[in-house]
Symmetry: C2
Subunit: 192 residues, 2 copies
């Protein structure tokens, strides 16, 4: 027998509700009771799945990053030129961010927050190492300009955040905006 419409398990319901509320109202301004109510479970249930409220916010961060990374890996053109690899990443991140705007906003809002532990940050770093490696390779062989990797990362983040924010406000211009912002990005970082 096939399972139709298997109800989302409670853990996931809690994660989704918390993401929504944290983005809307901030972490400390959202009580665990708020989250439980929004998720449709009892206040005690939250603490079965997450020992503390801090553990919950760290789980959201970690799982969102992991899911995004999985999405980026799909169909990644390993052997291709750096430009094509980056273009692939660009399109995938934009698509993911638009389909998961709550998670994307969450990642942006809480990436620098003191509630996300260094352990979480470390655990998450490896998920995007395949992309980072491509970038380092591209710098080595001169396809892209040699700039500090932190700076590169921050630039990339600014581009993507801006692109996604723009597309969210102007959905019809999605394709064009992705192309245009990639061109600006590529012109900036390409070698020579």
């Amino acid at each position: 027998m096939v399972e139709f419409l298997k109800p989302m398990d409670k853990r996931q319901k809690i994660l989704n509700a918390a993401t929504r509320l944290f983005v809307e109202r901030g972490f400390q301004n959202t009580s665990t009771a708020n989250i439980s109510k929004e998720a449709g479970v009892a206040t005690g249930t939250l603490f079965i799945y997450f020992a503390t409220k801090d553990e919950l916010i760290n789980a959201i961060y970690k799982e969102a990053k992991q899911r995004m990374a999985e999405s980026l890996k799909e169909g990644f053109p390993q052997g291709a030129a750096t430009r094509d690899k980056l273009k692939h990443l660009w399109a995938e991140v934009a698509a993911w961010a638009l389909d998961n705007s709550e998670n994307f906003r969450f990642m942006h809002m809480f990436s620098a927050s003191p509630f996300i532990t260094n352990l979480t940050r470390e655990e998450v770093e490896s998920t995007s190492s395949f992309a980072m490696q491509s970038i380092k390779d591209g710098m080595k062989n001169g396809e892209i300009a040699s700039i500090p990797i932190d700076l590169f990362h921050s630039i990339l983040d600014g581009f993507l955040t801006g692109t996604v924010r723009y597309i969210a406000a102007n959905p019809s211009k999605r394709k064009k905006a992705i192309e245009a912002s990639f061109d600006v990005f590529w012109n900036g970082i390409k070698g020579k």
Copy 2:
């Protein structure tokens, strides 16, 4: 008689202490008692200058933005080419951010926070309108690529945040890093 070493007024002491603590520990995780203690005043004093804790965080945001804008306006080359105007802004922002790293981190951390009201955001917008106007002018006459202003803003933010973060970690490379990141930025956005 000249006033030597006039003690910083209590309002400013509270603003400074709060900025430091909010960046370190987050907004809701910092109690007003923490702030008062750090500032060296009584708990009641905070509420003489700021009716609520929310008013305090909005004041920090507003005044930091305003002070930075003033700094940017100094010596702004009004008649110059867009590239030179942007280069001036670049250097000034980098300098300000490095001299006011607490405030810069604060601005970055709380610019998207739900505690900053829309009114505050509106009030602050005008402080950088002179820079925005230069950018729009540059787009009109083809000196820089025509991209949505929100996207431009976000890209700029990413570049600056990354540059400042890098310089903070590698102070000796300050001059070179500023030049290098501007070049990447300019190659990306220049016209044609």
